[in-house]
């Protein structure tokens, strides 16, 4: 029985624990792909010191669940875990985790990339960064839209 786990939380997670959960009781799948997104110290030439993430509770979880459903329709994948943090984050902190298992690597690679690309343009999260110039809500990147469109 394949499992989907979606968590939207302020607290950090332990990468190895999440990997163990994806692999537990699962000898059917030979591939595990994980992606971690972290807070960078730079953005468009500015030195970033902090990141604040806001989200739309309820819609976020629905949206992430829908993205997993869409991934399952396109690839033969096993267990899936998406964790996205919100609130105040520091440099180097984890922001997002996507983990997916599959029998063979290609499905897990594709599904992980698809889920990240869609999450970036669909899930209702907003980032506010602090730089030497003060606080600023980030504008959406056109390149993220293009990355997502390549799957349609």
């Amino acid at each position: 029985m394949v499992q989907t786990s979606i968590k939207v939380q302020t607290e950090d997670y332990v990468l190895n624990d999440e990997i163990e959960k994806l692999e537990a009781n699962n000898t059917l799948d030979g591939a595990l792909v994980t992606f971690t997104g972290r807070v960078r110290d730079n953005n468009k030439g500015h030195k970033v010191t902090n990141l604040f993430l806001e989200h739309y509770a309820g819609m976020t979880e629905k949206c992430l669940a829908d993205i997993v459903v869409q991934a399952r329709e396109q690839w033969q994948i096993g267990n899936v875990c998406i964790i996205h943090r919100y609130g105040e984050l520091n440099l180097g902190d984890n922001i997002v985790f996507v983990g997916v298992t599959s029998k063979h690597r290609q499905d897990a690679f594709n599904a992980a990339q698809f889920m990240m690309d869609y999450l970036k343009v669909k899930a209702p999260f907003w980032k506010k960064e602090t730089t030497e110039q003060g606080e600023k809500w980030l504008d959406a990147n056109q390149s993220d839209q293009q990355e997502a469109q390549k799957w349609s």
């Binding site: 997104g37 739309y56 629905k62 922001i95 970036k120 899930a123 209702p124 907003w126 809500w137 993220d144």
Partner: protein, 84 residues
């Protein structure tokens, strides 16, 4: 009359200094009508509702201006998303 719950997020929430608003509005109101009503609340509101990047969700599903509102709807206004 119907009662709706209006939510604002991120930059819009800060610009308006308002995260949530409960409103009694007339039946058969569309999202476009609601936007127009809210825009008339003052200059900050006018600025937010003049934004060409305003995204609208009703009951947590994306909708367009023509969408007709119903009693107890949750209507959210937010800028383009930037998570991940």
């Amino acid at each position: 009359m119907i009662t709706i719950n209006v939510l604002f997020f991120a930059a819009f929430r800060e610009q308006l200094d308002c995260g949530q608003l409960q409103l009694n509005v007339s039946n058969d109101l569309t999202v476009a009508d609601l936007k127009q009503q809210l825009a008339e609340k003052g200059s900050k509101w006018h600025t937010v509702f003049s934004s060409n990047t305003l995204i609208i969700a009703v009951n947590q599903e994306l909708v367009e201006d023509e969408h007709r509102l119903q009693d107890n709807d949750e209507v959210a206004f937010f800028p383009p998303v930037t998570g991940g």
